[in-house]
Symmetry: C2
């Protein structure tokens, strides 16, 4: 295996619970109260699928204007409540070491620019980092497009890439992209949920993944 492709929210940055809270409040304000746990389990899927799931919960389709207004309000609340983007334990050090060791790696996220820019800044990755975001592909996770675009940008065949994520959507997208996947518990899923969705290995967070790179057959130079 030659490359690592990372999800962003819940995998490298501790934003999942703020996203859940912001969605829950935006939906409630729009008269669509939805259980927190159901929102949590849908973080990281494409906005279109998320909207369809909301429609099923409230029992009627959302018109485009409603969906856009809720998405905009979610963004407002999210920026208001999350004063800083906090990298998850080990994330900065892992990315730095991959960079220094010359191991191809990138980020593939269902998030959008410019919303993700503060997260990338917090990870100290710089402009040379390969980042594929929602606006760069036609379909987000669990479709494979984000991961496939990242592997093309890295010039590494999909079969030689690991996809690393905290949500079942990452793991399903990885499987459809023909990649092995690694699950992290740092987004709040249970270990078994990630294993059942196809994770080849499950670690607590980026720090434990960093300590376990040899289990994945990724050797750092000089190691």
């Amino acid at each position: 295996m030659r490359a690592l492709i990372f999800d962003l929210d819940g995998t490298l940055i501790d934003t999942v619970y703020a996203h859940v809270f912001a969605w829950q409040r935006a939906l409630r304000e729009a008269g669509m109260p939805i259980d927190g746990w159901k929102i949590h389990r849908r973080i990281g899927m494409s906005g279109g699928l998320f909207t369809r799931a909301v429609a099923r919960e409230i029992g009627r389709p959302l018109i485009d204007d409603e969906a856009e207004a809720i998405q905009r309000r979610h963004g407002e609340i999210f920026r208001e409540i999350l004063v800083e983007r906090r990298p998850l334990p080990g994330a900065i050090a892992l990315l730095r070491e991959l960079r220094q060791a010359g191991i191809p790696h990138g980020i593939a996220t269902s998030g959008r620019r410019p919303e993700i820019d503060a997260s990338l800044d917090a990870l100290e990755v710089g402009p040379s980092m390969v980042v594929v975001a929602r606006g760069d592909v036609l379909r987000a996770k669990p479709e494979p497009d984000l991961f496939l675009a990242a592997s093309q940008r890295l010039n590494v065949p999909a079969g030689d890439c690991y996809a690393v994520g905290d949500a079942v959507w990452d793991l399903l997208a990885a499987r459809r992209a023909g990649m092995l996947s690694v699950g992290l518990l740092s987004g709040g899923y249970g270990e078994d949920e990630l294993t059942r969705a196809g994770a080849f290995r499950v670690y607590r967070d980026a720090a434990e993944l960093h300590d376990s790179l040899d289990e994945l057959g990724i050797l750092l130079r000089g190691a």
Copy 2:
């Protein structure tokens, strides 16, 4: 089986994600950033254990004043962000039916009065409901005291009670109280986490539990 004893947050009321967010912000303000998922998995345990877990994460013991200040700030943020307490799907109807059918039932929560009062109001349970809260016992979950006190108040032996909860702390406390337990996914744990912690059955939420009372050997009058 003759009685049902319910946890409150995440089991009957949709408050777990607001608690996670409020704890995370209160801790961050105090200079103790802690991952959201680690807070999530500790909601529902006693405040003393929670404080000890925080101390382990930040690598030093908390003095009593610090712990109290953080707890107070958590309460402030929680009340500020959670405008209303929203009963989880099926919770009000289930409690109403148990009341009407004369099946003994109560609530046993690690939460405190007066913080839990708004949740009890939202559940429309009235003053005759048996409620055992943190202040009523010496030790909270995962100690069995809350569930045991509820079974005494109901005058039903512990072995004839089901404990219903969304967190592994409920299920551990139930086992130590000699009760069978039922897990609900509505607090955001994975099914396997609840099963491994000893849940006899796992349902999505109170609504599915309501539809499944016969699987638990609890027969409503006239059913």
